[in-house]
């Protein structure tokens, strides 16, 4: 749990990685990569969020019960996104604009 005290150095390193990822996100946005632009933006955002969850929020050092709640929340979000998008994106009778 958080009885494990992370050295300040770890927080600062994670911070620098997050800054780098922010810089990358903006730079990549200005390149024409077609559909990959969105994928890249989301991949980087998920990576940043993962670093915040694991280290800033100490989940890497948390109890298994905490992991269950964290992963469960993400999974539930996944259910909502996948099923909702699955519904809307398979409405073949729509004309898209």
């Amino acid at each position: 749990m958080a009885e494990h005290i992370l050295p300040k150095r770890v927080y600062c390193t994670i911070f620098l990685i997050l800054m780098l990822c922010t810089y990358l996100t903006v730079q990549i946005a200005f390149l024409d990569l077609g559909r990959i632009n969105t994928v890249a933006a989301l991949v980087i955002a998920v990576f940043k969020a993962t670093l915040v969850v694991l280290f800033f929020m100490h989940v890497k050092y948390s109890t298994r019960l905490t992991w269950v709640v964290v992963l469960g929340g993400i999974f539930w979000l996944g259910i909502m996104l996948v099923l909702t998008m699955g519904d809307y994106l398979t409405r073949g009778w729509r004309t898209y604009g």
Partner: protein
């Protein structure tokens, strides 16, 4: 039974818990369960955004271009830095370094206020440029309806996020007060930790909001 290191009458120990350690675990778990509900709360808005962006990509790109990438990037840097100062505040609390706790909590609050200040400037720009949805909304005819959808989502999502920031700053003020008074000690610092969890969550929401709102189709212009 209670470890020897803990005297059974620690003022912060509620009677239903065997130890401060157990109480802390429960507090942490409770905050995580709440954050899971918050994930779904914001998640619904992200789902709405995803559908409308999938349906109207050009209008969304055109509308997104009207947002200021520089200000959005600065705000992202500000919030991530505030997460660093928050993590350092928790770290200081774990080591019983009261002055550092106060310093880092203050830094976190100031950065949060800076974020809200920049957000206000952005909202003002949107107001002046007639990009606030409603009777005064103006946009190129081709994308008029769907750009208005984008801006509705923009204001609702960043507005809800900003509300969470305000609440977060309020929570940090209370944490600052408790640290000042000596309520927070090496044995009892879980309030700082779980407040930190809330703050990091609000940062994570912005980590997703920024690219999804500000960086749509930027290469084209």
């Amino acid at each position: 039974m209670p470890e020897a290191a803990l005297h059974p009458h620690h003022p912060a120990l509620a009677h239903q818990f065997d130890s401060l350690g157990q109480q802390k675990e429960v507090a942490t778990l409770g905050m995580w369960v709440f954050l899971a509900t918050e994930v779904l709360f914001f998640g619904g808005l992200f789902a709405t955004y995803a559908i409308y962006r999938a349906w109207y990509p050009e209008a969304f790109a055109a509308a997104s271009h009207e947002l200021d990438v520089a200000l959005g990037t600065i705000n992202t840097v500000v919030l991530i830095t505030s997460s660093l100062t928050m993590a350092l505040a928790v770290h200081a609390a774990q080591l019983g370094q009261r002055k550092l706790v106060l310093l880092f909590l203050a830094a976190t609050m100031i950065l949060g206020a800076v974020f809200l200040g920049i957000k206000s400037v952005e909202y003002y720009h949107k107001f002046v440029e007639h990009h606030v949805p409603g009777p005064g909304f103006q946009f190129e005819r081709e994308h008029f309806r769907h750009a208005q959808l984008f801006f509705s989502l923009y204001f609702i999502m960043t507005g809800l996020h900003a509300l969470h920031m305000v609440i977060g700053i309020g929570i940090m003020l209370v944490m600052f007060w408790w640290s000042w008074r000596g309520t927070i000690t090496v044995e009892y610092y879980s309030p700082i930790e779980i407040s930190g969890l809330y703050w990091h969550f609000v940062d994570i929401v912005w980590i997703f909001l920024f690219p999804l709102l500000y960086l749509i189709g930027r290469h084209a212009h």
